[in-house]
Symmetry: C2
Subunit: 366 residues, 2 copies
């Protein structure tokens, strides 16, 4: 599963500029800072309650400890999901709801990190947050067990929470885990299929399950802790999902056309890996002559660092309409997210935090 | 994690006979049959609610479907853990509590099967319930994901249960998962250590976490659903734990001295695998001359099918007191289990079901 704000996104500037950024950070940066300050103690105390062997792996994964157990500076991620929980609670229930939802925010972050631990094992990813992944340090078995433990810890946090929303929140979070599993399954299964066997609906559904579901769930949990009704909860869930899909579409565009000096990755890295990203599948299924050319290129693995071939492939995706489609689809998803937000939270003042976070994840501002 | 009633246990006759068995099955067999009849529909409906990709793997794992999705006869295990949930609920709250606890019983069985799926991946076990393990059929990633999904499903079942005990039950079950993870970690970590570096306390603690914890949790959940007080819940948890340890001790004895014609496994299979089972570690740490001989044998891997060497190794374990210790420790654990049971459920009539199940898992009768 992708980190929400990947290095390449932080550096990329390909998308139309949004609000002007202040030199010290945007509204969202301030929100995230504040969220980490309130959720971190809950998260650390939950992890500290793990059995020793599991705690050690979790503390490494969160960046709180080095592999030898000595304290580390910590880069536990941007905390976008906890921020969505708290912003949604605040938007619908004010500061009291926000304060009550801190435990739920930590639970969502634990679930996110459980999926990261397991996805890294399955995808054989060796680097995460600029450090070797847990499985490369502790082995597959320990990374699997630590992931299992973080899932259990998340649901225990909610089960022990006396708040009346904790039961429905736990059910919703567990249900979201099922969707995350299905999304990861679809993603790994897709890797093994021929490019022309994959439909655009499938890739969109996979991205929604893998990326949108937990963002939506985070917003829904915040709404539940604010005592919101079913319609508002559903609207905020969809707000998070649509923003998540917009994020994925934009991330995929950057993965092809992002400036390597800014993304920190080689140009067209996703193309070289023959990744069936959203713009690529849109291009492949476009029925254009460029689609046929792209299919031919994708039928063979990329060899060496053939910059010409990457450029040809990127051009084929673009000529087949993949880039335009992804950008317009991202805009549509964001528009839908905004509609859902307005439905659940009509007041612009109250909606401000969620709006800033949605803009942050979709790179309109940060 | 060991199945409670392994094939070798079903066939072994090495242990002192308990109650006479009726030709058609003992009390426990009748209990288990009845439990499966009431829990199976709940379990199947929960699994049916999984996303398609996860459902397919789960249905295979439970033995309900073949790998191609066609229906199979199904050998989903003996359902010892659900039986303990229902027997504990019944013992402390009668038929109404028993009926209310069916969902919790299914949740415990889901957690058990989640750990089986993951343990098989980590231990590279290729066979489970006489069929190829899920990872050998679907690959590691899918087996990991299906395990993740079963954990989430278990906790969702409890989160959706309106019964007042469901919250405390979910917290307890999640906590038990943490202990199971720590136990599996200890087990895999022990495999990599020299035999003389492992203490008896460590192996006992590992067996309690890996085998006792979920049995204890099953009993505790039943007690919670019966509205029992903290003291009774704790006593039944310990009853399950002690019975689980007794089971493990006896299983380890059979793993060394079980008659291969009855266990279906080669003589001394655990010795050939250099397994650090309880009798072996007791022998190694006995300070006897036989311990030194055993340590020497265990320092080298077993080669080929050297029956003489296995016989010598088994004799060394026995001469070092490993066999006697394990049998007497199993008896002590069972005695403690009986004390805890009497404390929580003083009436012999009410305690009958739990007693029969404890005897069943420890092979006194079945």
């Amino acid at each position: 599963m992708a980190e929400f704000v990947t290095e390449r996104q932080q550096r990329a500037t390909q998308l139309p500029p949004g609000r002007p950024e202040s030199p010290d950070g945007s509204e969202a940066t301030v929100i995230l800072e504040r969220v980490r300050a309130s959720v971190d103690p809950e998260l650390r105390s939950a992890v500290a309650s793990l059995p020793g062997s599991m705690r050690r792996i979790a503390c490494y994964h969160f960046g709180w400890e080095h592999a030898d157990g000595s304290p580390a500076d910590g880069n536990a991620g941007k905390a976008i999901r906890p921020a969505l929980v708290l912003a949604a609670a605040d938007a619908l229930g004010g500061p009291a709801a926000r304060a009550a939802a801190v435990r739920a925010a930590a639970a969502v972050e634990l679930v996110h990190n459980f999926t990261l631990l397991h996805d890294d094992v399955m995808d054989r990813d060796t680097s995460r947050r600029h450090r070797p992944t847990a499985w490369t340090v502790f082995g597959d078995a320990d990374a699997i067990l630590a992931g299992d433990a973080l899932q259990a810890l998340a649901l225990r946090l909610l089960a022990e929470d006396p708040h009346p929303a904790s039961g429905p929140a736990a059910a919703r979070l567990a249900d979201c885990v099922l969707e995350l599993c299905a999304g990861q399954h679809a993603d790994t299964a897709m890797e093994d299929r021929a490019p022309d066997e994959v439909t655009l609906d499938e890739v969109l559904a996979m991205a929604e399950a893998k990326t949108g579901a937990l963002l939506g769930c985070a917003c829904a949990l915040g709404a539940l802790y604010a005592g919101a009704g079913a319609a508002e909860v559903a609207a905020l869930d969809d707000f998070g999902r649509q923003a998540g899909l917009a994020f994925q579409l934009i991330d995929d565009v950057i993965g092809i056309w992002g400036d390597p000096r800014r993304t920190g990755k080689p140009a067209g890295a996703d193309l070289a890996a023959r990744k069936k990203s959203l713009p690529v599948v849109a291009a492949l299924t476009s029925g254009t002559p460029a689609a046929a050319e792209l299919a031919e290129l994708y039928a063979e693995p990329h060899v060496g660092a053939d910059a010409d071939e990457i450029a040809r492939t990127a051009l084929a995706v673009e000529r087949a309409g993949g880039r335009d489609w992804a950008q317009s689809e991202a805009a549509d998803r964001m528009a839908r997210a905004m509609q859902e937000l307005a439905r659940a939270v009509p007041g612009p003042e109250e909606a401000g935090g969620l709006l800033a976070l949605a803009e942050f994840v979709t790179r309109r501002s940060r």
